[in-house]
């Protein structure tokens, strides 16, 4: 069917979720046998876009053409039949089933008459695919027992098994080390050479430069443009993605660095991270970055008492700190803005008022009895302080845009009197306007004397906001870089390099 100029074309796609416009009139064209990078920051609408292509979501408006024919998928199976396969960012698999089944789920090989599953063939086929992808594990292993990278490979094998004409990869490299990424590049190119067209989603430039011939950029769920990769310069691309010059986006003001608040000494947790050491001081913004799954979030959750560490010590304001629960952590003055605000940060079914006051019920209750008047006043005052756009404090959190939801979560932090704020991906899935507002808020907080740990995978904001940056890889700190001379290359090197961790004074022993 190659006579059509585009294997896949989408025109004016709009997808609306209750309260949010996830896709706003976006366009996309995919040529046969090309690798087309789709770029944009978190929350730009990339993931929704894929789900539209694969038939998980039906768009409210817009048309979709496959080899020139207009199609509309009622159901994921329709997309599969049409030869579209997706490798999702959050690996979607069946931990209790074998790798083979995960690969063939939805299109098992079955005997004609008896409709019996042909295990032997499936296992062999799966084994072959895995070998091609250079995987070392047996197809009969249970999925749950594999590492993220390994599961990533199974997902790709899945796409291969349906010999899909169009393969969509959603941030496949987000969790991979350099070698693993190289491996992935190789595989991807081979897929292309075998005639598949690939949509490669990422917000990492080297992915694009290494693989793609074309790049399309989304921002704030809008279509920004499509360029040949060698046509567009790096800064222009950043502007396209971020919406304005880095400099004007990050209002980083020099806060006066005060005394030390927090010090980690050889912190370790079996299976998650090992011998993590850094310190944080008043007024300082410490960036904590690295690949997804490098152990950043785990470290933060340990500081916040969500989970326990089994090695090393935390020193807080001079004496050793042992927090067993978030409640205690907040009592001593450590606050945490969780990574997933919908699951961890908010009660979506509640009004923003109740959400804001939840951590501070004590402040407006006496002997356990609530005082609604006081509560509402506090909620109102905080909601206005962080500039939430909402009609009243009774507006449901689920009805807010990502940015406003995030502001509500910030407001929750302001209810207690804290010294250390841990912000885990504070701008994830937030539109540019809200972003700059949040950055403003962060640097204000730093000036106000908070010590801030900012976890993020967004290079620009790390570089733009932080005084120092600690880079993690595979559960270890591989570098702590100072503000001057802070470059993407340096960070990426430290976070992806497979050579022995470039230890900054610490020994890479243990665990």
């Amino acid at each position: 069917m190659a006579e059509a100029e585009y294997v896949l074309e989408l025109r004016g796609i709009t997808k609306i979720f209750p309260g949010v416009k996830a896709l706003d009139d976006v366009y996309f064209k995919l040529k046969p046998g090309e690798i087309h990078a789709l770029m944009g920051e978190n929350g730009a609408g990339k993931s929704t876009f894929i789900k539209v292509i694969t038939g998980v979501h039906a768009p409210e408006e817009g048309d979709m053409f496959l080899n020139g024919q207009k199609v509309s998928f009622k159901h994921p199976t329709d997309a599969q039949k049409a030869g579209i396969a997706a490798i999702y960012q959050h690996v979607t698999n069946y931990p209790d089933l074998s790798v083979t089944e995960n690969i063939f789920m939805g299109h098992e090989k079955i005997q004609k008459g008896t409709r019996r599953i042909r295990w032997k063939e499936m296992h062999e086929e799966a084994g072959r695919l895995l070998k091609e992808l250079g995987a070392g594990f047996s197809p009969k292993t249970l999925m749950g027992a594999l590492s993220v990278a390994e599961q990533q490979i199974v997902e790709i094998a899945k796409a291969l098994s349906v010999n899909a004409k169009i393969i969509i990869m959603d941030e496949p490299t987000a969790a991979l080390t350099k070698n693993e990424s190289e491996e992935l590049y190789r595989i991807t190119e081979r897929l292309r050479d075998n005639g598949a067209s690939i949509i490669f989603i990422s917000h990492r430039f080297e992915d694009m430069y290494r693989l793609a011939s074309k790049v399309t950029v989304f921002r704030d769920s809008k279509y920004i443009g499509t360029w040949d990769v060698d046509e567009i310069s790096n800064p222009d691309l950043i502007v396209a993605m971020v919406g304005r010059e880095i400099s004007q986006l990050f209002p980083k003001t020099e806060a006066k660095i005060g005394e030390e608040l927090l010090r980690l000494e050889g912190l370790g947790k079996t299976g998650y991270f090992a011998d993590v050491s850094f310190s944080l001081r008043r007024g300082e913004i410490l960036g904590l970055t690295g690949l997804v799954g490098a152990g950043r979030t785990e470290v933060c959750e340990t500081l916040f008492g969500v989970s326990k560490h089994d090695k090393g010590t935390i020193v807080f304001k001079g004496q050793e700190l042992k927090v067993k629960s978030p409640k205690e952590a907040m009592k001593v003055g450590i606050g945490y803005l969780p990574e997933d605000r919908q699951k961890q940060g908010l009660v979506l079914q509640w009004g923003i008022g109740r959400n804001i006051t939840l951590p501070a019920l004590k402040r407006f209750s006496n002997k356990g009895m609530l005082n609604n008047r006081k509560e509402l006043d506090l909620a109102k005052q905080l909601a206005e302080k962080v500039g939430v756009k909402a009609k009243s404090v009774f507006t449901l959190a689920s009805a807010l845009s990502g940015g406003n939801q995030q502001k509500v979560v910030f407001a929750k932090l302001l209810t207690g009197d804290l010294d250390v704020l841990i912000l885990d991906e504070p701008t994830k899935g937030v539109d540019v306007g809200a972003k700059s507002a949040i950055y403003e808020m962060i640097s204000d907080l730093a000036n106000a004397g908070y010590g801030i740990i900012m976890v993020s995978s967004e290079m620009p904001e790390i570089i733009g906001m932080c005084d120092r940056v600690a880079v993690m890889r595979e559960g270890r700190i591989t570098a702590i870089l100072d503000r001057e001379g802070l470059t993407q290359e340096a960070i990426l090197a430290a976070s992806m390099d497979d050579s022995a961790p470039a230890t900054d004074g610490k020994k890479g022993a243990g665990a």
Binding site: P18, F304, V306, S325, P326, K327, A329, M330, Y336, P338, K343, Q344, G345, L346, V347, L348, Q349, W350, G353, R354, L358, P359, L361, K362, S365, G368, M369, L370, L376, D377, A379, K380, A383, E384, G387, V388, K389, A390, K391, S392, V393, F394, K412, A437, E440
Partner: protein, 329 residues
């Protein structure tokens, strides 16, 4: 970012106020009264109605904490066994010469401990659902009751104990007064205290509640312990009404209680529902049963009616969602 004013007063629309599950229950309650008074001339008789409450309020005490449990998205099917165990222990002690007052206190203690054990197991073994844990303890608690009392039925309590289940204060059944008292207490606990607020938070999103510094485990244990305590209170009233106890009392109460809570509009998914709804449901089911009893509807027909009522009452919110969703599509 320009400052915008955010209202902190709720704009009350009349429709919003009246379009609530609870009003529907009120309507139904009225419906039941109309229907019953047509069916039997004995129904609308103050004395009868008054005494009818004595008949169905004993299990209602468990409904109150069960609201909390189901709000948490959990379920406790061991309550009936706790009733049996605490009642049996009380009777046994009394018949071995322990003064009744003390026996009563011990009864309450036993119930509380049983509930606490449930809670503890559930938070310590999160991978086990509350259903399974309480299924096991349900069998165990009743098992202990059997071991203690074997084939005896134990009774012959002092006369004052009979007052709990049969006595009146100023012409009002004591059990009714007691229930009203506890209902008010639990209503305040759920709707007016930080504790209740935390329970709602956990029911809607346990993780977020935890990250907001709520000690989820502690709260869960307290809730299940409360269920134990109230089961013991039910044990007191039930035993008093029966004048004697045996290991197999209160069989199947857990199901009736859960049915009442669900009919009361408390969502089994957790986080949604109010105390008042459950309380209305108690009287709705109670008077419905009583009325049908007055016209001697056969037991099996009652079973069917109750079953259908339960199904319909949970089906409706679901259907509403479906329709709403279909509309959006």
């Amino acid at each position: 970012m320009e400052q915008r004013l955010i209202a902190n007063k709720k704009e009350l629309t009349l429709k919003g106020f009246f379009l609530q599950w609870e009003w529907l229950l009120v309507l139904l309650l009225i419906g039941v009264f109309v229907m019953n008074s047509n069916l039997s001339e004995y129904f609308l008789d103050s004395a009868n109605l008054r005494d009818a409450t004595m008949g169905f309020l004993d299990k209602a005490f468990i409904v109150l904490p069960m609201v909390f449990i189901i709000l948490l998205g959990d379920i406790d099917i061991s309550v009936a066994s706790i009733v049996a165990l605490s009642s049996v222990i009380m009777a046994d002690l009394y018949n071995h010469g322990v003064p009744m007052e003390l026996a009563v206190i011990i009864c309450l203690a036993v119930g509380t401990i049983c509930g606490w054990v449930n809670g503890l197991l559930i938070v310590k073994y999160k991978e086990l659902s509350a259903v399974i844990v309480t299924l096991a303890t349900m069998i165990i608690y009743r098992g202990i009751a059997y071991i203690l009392l074997e084939d005896q039925a134990s009774g012959k309590f002092p006369s004052w104990f009979k007052f709990l289940g049969w006595g009146y204060v100023g012409g009002i059944p004591f059990i009714l007064i007691a229930f009203v008292f506890f209902a008010v207490v639990f209503w305040i606990l759920l709707h007016k205290t930080t504790f209740g607020r935390m329970v709602y938070a956990m029911g809607n999103n346990a993780t977020a509640a935890r990250f907001s510094g709520i000690q989820v485990d502690k709260i869960k244990i307290i809730v299940f312990t409360l269920a134990g305590l109230m089961s013991a209170i039910t044990a007191l009233f039930l035993t008093s009404r029966m004048g004697s106890t045996r290991p197999n009392i209160a069989m199947g109460y857990e199901l009736e209680v859960i049915a009442m809570v669900v009919l009361g509009g408390v969502s089994t998914a957790g986080g949604k529902g109010r105390m008042i709804g459950a309380i209305l449901a108690v009287f709705l089911i109670g008077f419905l049963r009583y009325g049908l009893g007055l016209v001697n509807v056969s037991a099996q027909m009652l079973l069917i009616i109750m079953g259908v009522l339960l199904i319909v009452s949970v089906a409706i919110p679901q259907l509403k969602q479906r329709f709403a969703y279909a509309r959006r599509k």
